[in-house]
């Protein structure tokens, strides 16, 4: 007997003369549906409530317990706040730039530096750090090394950044907890993260594994707790190449992406702000692992072509120096010194910094 037959047998005679059995069966079917809907909604509501209260990704701003994602934006603002002297060079960008050591930059240029690159950092983060440093150390001209990838920027403001009062005043639009966040907080990933936070910070002493020097650099080379950590470089590269081959981008798509309305809102603001102060940033295009780059180039690397075209347009409006480090061979990168297909480790970063300083046309002198 099939499920439908069984259910039908249980009470398919709705509308017929109501024998006692049929009425009972119809009632039990209603209870089945009620039980289904009730438990379905109850489980999802409970999960959502738990995740909003713990708020592992800092989306709801409940701040009852520390977040599961590293609060590096606030940490670096704290470090900047504690500095006695303003850094002469500010390093900006995303996780790729986090490996840049200010001490190495100082050795190469003779100028003090601070690493303000953060995980997933884009133009809004860079803008906040540039403005905050200028506010904290006024009347000081500054040099910048700004690590960007193909695609250059996004104008999306991460809630974690917006929740810091020091950053909020520089941001024109502050994200609110919305439907997309409800979706995130209904996920198993968020629930696992909440549980981890609950275990570590409610049931345990809540110790962070990632530490920074006063100049914003990471205290140790271990990537274990960082997003750029990959258990095997070989596998990470193979997965990246497979991704490139599976979803080859077209030039039109790459152009369309760069032409999204508002995408360059903060990017333009940063360059306007810097140029108005007589500052000329060095914009560095991040390296891509050699074999991944080769796979991209087989497809014509539309994202790179569109990015370079956009930078050429920006060059007509702003002053900046572009250092293209995408091909690691140009700066003598070692294919073994990578954390994954898009992140170099410290050894390669030192070589890259040397190349950047040498090709900055005096902007870092």
């Amino acid at each position: 007997m099939s499920s439908s037959q069984a259910i039908a047998k249980g009470g398919g005679a709705v509308g017929s003369s109501a024998s006692a059995t049929e009425v009972t069966a119809a009632a039990s079917q209603r209870r089945f549906v009620g039980g289904f809907l009730g438990s379905f909604l109850a489980v999802l509501a409970a999960v959502l409530a738990f995740n909003v209260v713990v708020d592992p990704y800092a989306l709801a701003g409940t701040k009852l317990v520390p977040t599961a994602v590293e609060p590096d934006r606030s940490i670096k603002l704290d470090l900047l706040q504690k500095l006695e002297h303003g850094p002469q060079i500010l390093i900006l960008g995303d996780s790729r730039g986090r490996q840049a050591e200010p001490s190495v930059v100082q050795r190469l240029t003779g100028h003090t530096a601070f690493n303000a690159a953060v995980t997933g950092g884009s133009a809004p983060e860079a803008y906040v750090f540039v403005r905050y440093t200028a506010h904290r150390f006024p009347r000081q001209k500054r040099r910048y090394i700004w690590f960007v990838s193909t695609g250059l920027t996004s104008s999306a403001v991460v809630p974690q950044l917006a929740q810091d009062s020091r950053a909020r005043r520089y941001l024109s639009s502050v994200p609110r907890f919305g439907l997309a966040d409800v979706k995130t907080y209904l996920s198993t990933d968020a629930t696992k993260a909440s549980w981890r936070v609950f275990e570590k910070c409610v049931l345990g002493p809540c110790r962070s594994h990632i530490h920074y020097h006063a100049d914003g650099s990471l205290t140790n080379q271990s990537l274990h707790y960082l997003p750029e950590h990959a258990q095997s470089l070989h596998r990470a590269v193979a997965a990246a190449i497979a991704g490139v081959r599976r979803h080859p981008e077209t030039l039109a798509e790459a152009r369309r992406q760069l032409a999204e309305p508002g995408r360059f809102r903060y990017f333009d603001r940063i360059l306007t702000f810097m140029n108005r102060r007589g500052e000329v940033p060095v914009i560095v295009i991040n390296p891509v692992y050699p074999s991944v780059l080769a796979a991209e180039e087989q497809n014509g690397f539309p994202a790179r072509r569109a990015t370079l075209a956009t930078l050429a347009q920006l060059k007509t409006r702003f002053r900046f120096v572009l250092v293209d480090c995408e091909n690691s061979r140009t700066w003598g990168g070692n294919p073994r010194d990578w954390s994954n297909a898009s992140h170099v480790n410290r050894a390669n970063m030192r070589l890259e910094l040397k190349y950047i300083v040498a090709h900055s046309h005096g902007a870092l002198r």
């Binding site: 089945f32 549906v33 039980g35 289904f36 379905f40 996920s187 990933d189």
Partner: protein, 467 residues
């Protein structure tokens, strides 16, 4: 819009159900609403797909009416040919033109012909293989006088466009839905609601908690195809077969459940295919709506198994070759179809000769292994990759080194596969499960569905969506 997405489950579906059942007094309005909702669902992927769907629907609706109205045999034949040519033409242009020119170009460059042909970048409308087959069965059945054409445009647009089957089947024939469309269910009974909820939750669990969990392990095995040994090669074959079954039968369960929530009954698409005792039995259990379509509209018209052994084998090979090509415009699908054609042909010959094994267990195991091996060709991105995996399954790359077993076959994957192998061989399928409508069963189904929904963070498209 995927069935396993928040926008579908929490916005589209509740809105459609509310609209559909609240309009129950007005049949035309109801059908117009459902057609509109289905087209919206379809256009959510890309609005440019919609004119193709509407065009194919219009041609077949008119062709059906004209065929039925005509008494002249040549005219009926001409109209049917026009209808079939439109559908096959749509498929040929959108799905196969790139493959054809690519293959021609490959042959040209292999024999040293001059400049390459220009590469074609044609947008492939999603679900095109399914709705063209739905439509073709309509005109063919009218031509064969097996079904009366509908007079209502809305009944026909609902039949072709009904969102539960539009993207990936089951391939529903007009005979399956004609009566249901004529006499729409006036209200949602607790029976159909319970049945719909049950099938929907089974589908969600199969797709999200089983198929999607297998996906990363299987994908890795195929990425590392050059490093596979005997064990990992078989794991790639069996793992993918299980993934595909739970993915596609999960989708079919969801489609049946969604149709049920709208008051429609869809045919069964999977009947425990891994319990098949021979390859012919497998095709009676696997993607049943497609295999019966090919049987009724291709294999039998070719002569079926009535014209001797040689002709039967030829008919089976031709049918399965086209079934393979239907799955996708790539040589891997063509070869997969041909392999199944040869399996079926061999089985037909052996059965006639009385040489098939008598042990049911042996038959079942043998069928399972052959099906899994053939799915390697189906899954592989190229024939080279398929060759690597198949040769590792034959032991040509040796046994796996301990370190490689540890890396490629983590304990969780092995345990999951073992549990699923037991499940598919022992457990009843969704259609066979005895469901007493008790409150705790409803709660269990609800909790399972909620846990499945929690894994939707990054929806994975259904494997069959690419076809």
């Amino acid at each position: 819009m995927l069935f396993n997405s928040y926008v579908f489950l929490f916005a589209f579906l509740p809105a459609v159900l509310a609209g559909w059942w609240s309009l129950s007094r007005w049949k035309s309005l109801r059908l117009a609403f459902l057609t509109g909702a289905s087209w919206f669902f379809y256009a959510w992927w890309d609005w440019r797909y919609l004119p193709v769907l509407i065009g194919a629907t219009s041609v077949d609706f008119l062709a059906g009416r004209w065929i039925a109205a005509s008494e002249s045999e040549p005219r009926r034949r001409l109209l049917l040919t026009a209808s079939l040519a439109t559908n096959v033409g749509i498929l040929a242009y959108f799905k196969y033109a790139g493959f054809f020119f690519g293959s021609l170009d490959g042959i040209g460059s292999a024999v040293g012909l001059g400049a390459p042909l220009p590469s074609l970048h044609i947008l492939l409308p999603i679900g095109i293989s399914f709705y063209t087959f739905n439509s073709m069965s309509y005109t063919i059945d009218i031509f064969r006088r097996r079904v009366e054409p509908t007079r209502s445009v809305l009944e026909y647009t609902t039949f072709v466009g009904l969102f539960p089957h539009l993207i990936a089947g089951p391939i529903v024939r007009f005979t399956d839905l004609a009566e249901q469309l004529k006499r729409l269910t006036p209200r949602l009974t607790s029976e159909t609601a319970a049945r719909g909820a049950f099938f929907l939750s089974c589908g969600l669990v199969k797709k999200l908690l089983i198929a999607d969990q297998l996906n990363p392990y299987v994908a890795r095995l195929y990425t590392d195809h050059t490093q596979l040994g005997l064990l990992s090669g078989w794991a790639a074959a069996v793992g993918y077969s299980l993934q595909l079954y739970f993915d596609f039968s999960g989708y079919s369960d969801m489609a049946v459940g969604l149709a049920c929530l709208l008051g429609f009954r869809f045919p069964q698409n999977f009947n425990s295919p891994f319990k098949a005792v021979n390859i012919s039995d497998f095709w009676r259990r696997w993607h049943m709506s497609l295999s019966s379509w090919f049987r009724d509209y291709l294999f039998i018209p070719l002569g079926g198994s009535q014209r001797g052994a040689k002709r039967t084998v030829l008919n089976l090979v031709v049918t399965m070759f086209l079934a393979g090509l239907w799955h996708g415009a790539a040589w891997t699908f063509v070869i997969w179809g041909l392999v199944h054609g040869l399996f079926l042909g061999s089985h037909a010959v052996l059965r006639r000769a009385g040489w098939t094994p008598s042990s049911a267990v042996l038959n079942r195991a043998l069928t399972f292994l052959l099906v899994c091996a053939a799915f390697v060709i189906f899954r592989s991105p190229s024939l080279g990759v398929a060759g690597d995996v198949l040769s590792s399954m034959l032991g040509l790359h040796g046994l796996d080194a301990a370190a490689r077993v540890h890396a490629l076959l983590p304990g969780k994957f092995v345990l999951l596969m073992a549990a699923l192998l037991v499940f598919v061989n022992v457990a009843p399928n969704t259609w066979q499960i005895r469901l007493g409508p008790r409150v705790w069963q409803g709660m269990a189904a609800g909790i399972a569905a909620a846990i499945a929904v929690m894994t939707i963070a990054q929806p994975h498209p259904f494997i069959y969506f690419q076809f």
